[in-house]
C-alpha cells in the first residue's frame, strides 16, 4: 500500500512472482503499476503492508534487495547521454560489482541479445527512443539479477524490436529469474507471459480470457474497425 497527498493506492495489492516466471501486470494509467515496481526497487517505501524480494524486506533489507534486482523504468533520461551505449552498460555492470572482465563479457552478451551491437559505440544521446529503451532494459539484466522489474518494455519499439524484447524477457525468466513486467495493455506480452495479472482499483487479480476479450471488443467498438478473425489468446508460452 502506498499513500500520498491523501490518496491511497495498491491497498489491496497482493502479488507473488516465483523464480523462473515472467509475470505481466496489466492496468490502466494511474492504477499504481509503476509505484508497485518502485516499491520493489526500494525507490519508494510502502506506507503499509509488506514487499519482499528473495525473502528480503524492501524497507529493512533495502541494501540486500538492491543487490538482487535489475530495474528499468520508462525514463530514457536515465542513461548518461554523453557516454556510448556500451560505456553506459559497462558503468552499471561495474556498479553492480562485476569484475572488469565479467562486465565486458556480460555487456557484450546483452548487446548481442538485444540487437544493439551496431549502435553500441554511439552516444546514448544519438540513439533513437526505441534503441534507448532496449539499452535501458539491457541494463536491468546486468549482474543476472534474481528479480527483474520492467516498466512498459514494448513502449517505443518497432515490430522487430518487440520480438527481440519479448524473447529477451522470456529468456531472463528461463534463466531462473523472476521477471515482473507492468504495462497498460497486454498486447504481444500475453503470448510470452507465464502468468498474467490485472490491477484494478488497487487490487491485483488474475487475468482471465474474459478480461482480454472484453477489452479487445471495447477497443474495436470504439475505433469502428473490424475485429480480426484470430485474437492472440492464451497465457503462457
Amino acid at each position: 500500500m502506498r499513500s500520498f497527498a491523501g490518496k491511497t493506492i495498491l491497498a489491496g495489492a497482493d502479488l507473488e512472482v516465483p523464480p523462473g516466471t515472467l509475470a505481466v501486470l496489466e492496468g490502466p494509467n494511474g492504477a499504481g503499476k509503476t509505484t508497485m515496481l518502485r516499491i520493489f526497487a526500494t525507490l519508494v517505501r510502502p506506507s503499509g503492508g509488506e514487499a519482499r524480494v528473495d525473502g528480503y524486506d524492501v524497507v529493512h533489507g533495502g541494501a540486500r534487495v538492491r543487490e538482487r534486482i535489475g530495474a528499468a523504468f520508462v525514463n530514457e533520461r536515465s542513461l548518461y547521454w554523453r557516454l556510448s551505449g556500451r560505456e553506459n552498460l559497462r558503468l552499471f555492470a561495474r556498479t553492480r560489482g562485476l569484475s572488469r572482465q565479467a562486465a565486458r563479457a556480460q555487456v557484450d552478451a546483452l548487446l548481442e541479445e538485444l540487437e544493439l551491437v551496431e549502435i553500441a559505440s554511439k552516444w546514448a544521446a544519438d540513439l533513437s527512443a526505441g534503441q534507448r529503451q532496449r539499452l535501458i532494459i539491457a541494463r536491468a539484466g546486468l549482474g543476472e539479477p534474481s528479480c527483474m522489474l520492467i516498466d512498459e518494455p514494448l513502449r517505443g519499439l518497432d515490430e522487430n524490436g518487440i520480438q527481440t524484447m519479448l524473447c529477451f524477457l522470456a529468456a531472463q525468466a528461463r534463466r531462473g529469474g523472476a521477471v515482473l513486467v507492468v504495462a497498460p495493455k497486454l498486447d504481444e506480452l500475453r503470448a510470452y507471459a507465464d502468468v498474467l495479472y490485472r490491477l484494478r482499483e488497487g487490487v491485483v487479480l488474475p487475468w482471465s480470457e474474459h478480461d482480454g476479450q472484453s477489452d479487445d471488443e471495447d477497443r474495436f467498438e470504439r475505433s469502428g474497425t473490424e475485429q480480426p478473425d484470430e485474437l492472440p489468446l492464451g497465457a503462457g508460452r
Partner: protein
C-alpha cells in the same frame, strides 16, 4: 572499503569520459587559471604595502596559498551537491538509487574527479606563480599533503551534508555556497583575519578554513613539520574532520532513507 574505492574509481572515470567530451571548457579553465594568477599579482602590487600584509612579495605568497587552497576546498564543498543535483535533473539519480552502492561511496564518487581537477589546477597555479615571485621559501611537502588530505576530508564532508539536502528536498547547493562564502570571508583567504572587526571574530574561530589556511601557509611558506602542525592548527582541523565525517555519513544515510520514504529519488 575496497568496494568504496572501486565505486569512487568507476565514477571518477565516468566523469572523466564525459569531461573529455567538453575539451574546450577544459582548455579554457587552464587559460583562466593563468589570468587569475596575473590578476592576483597586480592586486598585491597595489595593496601590498600595509602593515597587515607586509611587502608586496609577502602578500603575493600569502594570497597565492590562500586562493589555491580555498579554491580546492570550495570544489570539495560544492562537488557532491552539484553532481547530485545534476543526476536529479538529468534523470540518472533514480537508477543510481536502485544500485547496490552505499550513500557515502556515491557521494565520494560524485566528488572525486572535480576535487582531483581542482588539485591539479591548484598545482598549475602554483607553477604559474613562480615567475611572478612565488619563491624564496622552502615548503615541507609532506606537511602540505597532510594539510590537503585532512582539510579535504573536512570540506568534502560539509559538501556531503549539502548533497543530503539536495537528495531530501531538491535544494541545498545554496546552503553550502553561503557557508563557503562566510568561511572565506572569516577564514583569511584574501586578507589576514587580524584586519576583521571584533564582531567577526567568532566566525573566524568557528571556521575550519581559518585553521586550514594557517596550517597550509605554515607548511608551504614556513616549512613547518607535520608534528608541529598537528600540535596546533592542523590538530584542530583533524578534530573537525572526525566530527564532520560522522555527521556527513549520518546525514547522507538519513537523506536517502527520507528520499525513499517520500519517493523523491524519482523527482527533480
Amino acid at each position: 572499503m575496497t568496494r568504496t574505492f572501486e565505486i569512487v574509481r568507476i565514477f571518477a572515470l565516468k566523469d572523466l569520459r564525459i569531461a573529455l567530451t567538453y575539451r574546450l571548457s577544459f582548455a579554457l579553465g587552464l587559460v583562466s587559471a593563468f589570468f587569475s594568477m596575473l590578476t592576483f599579482f597586480f592586486i598585491t602590487r597595489v595593496v601590498g604595502h600595509s602593515a597587515s600584509v607586509g611587502t608586496p612579495s609577502h602578500y603575493f605568497r600569502f594570497l597565492v596559498v590562500g586562493v589555491v587552497t580555498a579554491n580546492i576546498l570550495r570544489v570539495a564543498v560544492v562537488a557532491a551537491s552539484s553532481s547530485a543535483r545534476n543526476d536529479q535533473l538529468e534523470g540518472t539519480l533514480e537508477i543510481l538509487g536502485t544500485q547496490p552502492i552505499s550513500p557515502i561511496a556515491l557521494a565520494l564518487g560524485w566528488s572525486a574527479l572535480p576535487v582531483i581537477e581542482a588539485i591539479l589546477e591548484g598545482a598549475l597555479m602554483l607553477v604559474l606563480a613562480v615567475p611572478l615571485g612565488f619563491t624564496g621559501f622552502t615548503p615541507d611537502w609532506i606537511s602540505v599533503l597532510l594539510v590537503l588530505a585532512i582539510s579535504t576530508a573536512v570540506f568534502l564532508s560539509i559538501g556531503f551534508i549539502g548533497a543530503a539536502f539536495v537528495l531530501a528536498i531538491q535544494q541545498g547547493a545554496g546552503i553550502t555556497g553561503l557557508a563557503l562564502t562566510v568561511m572565506a570571508l572569516a577564514g583569511g583567504t584574501l586578507f589576514p583575519t587580524s584586519v576583521l572587526p571584533g564582531s567577526a571574530h567568532i566566525l573566524t574561530v568557528l571556521s575550519p578554513l581559518t585553521y586550514t589556511l594557517r596550517a597550509m601557509r605554515g607548511a608551504m611558506l614556513a616549512g613547518q613539520s607535520p608534528a608541529h602542525l598537528l600540535s596546533g592548527d592542523l590538530g584542530i582541523v583533524l578534530i573537525y574532520a572526525v566530527i564532520s565525517i560522522a555527521v556527513a555519513s549520518a546525514a547522507l544515510s538519513a537523506s536517502f532513507r527520507f528520499a525513499r520514504a517520500k519517493g523523491r529519488l524519482s523527482r527533480f
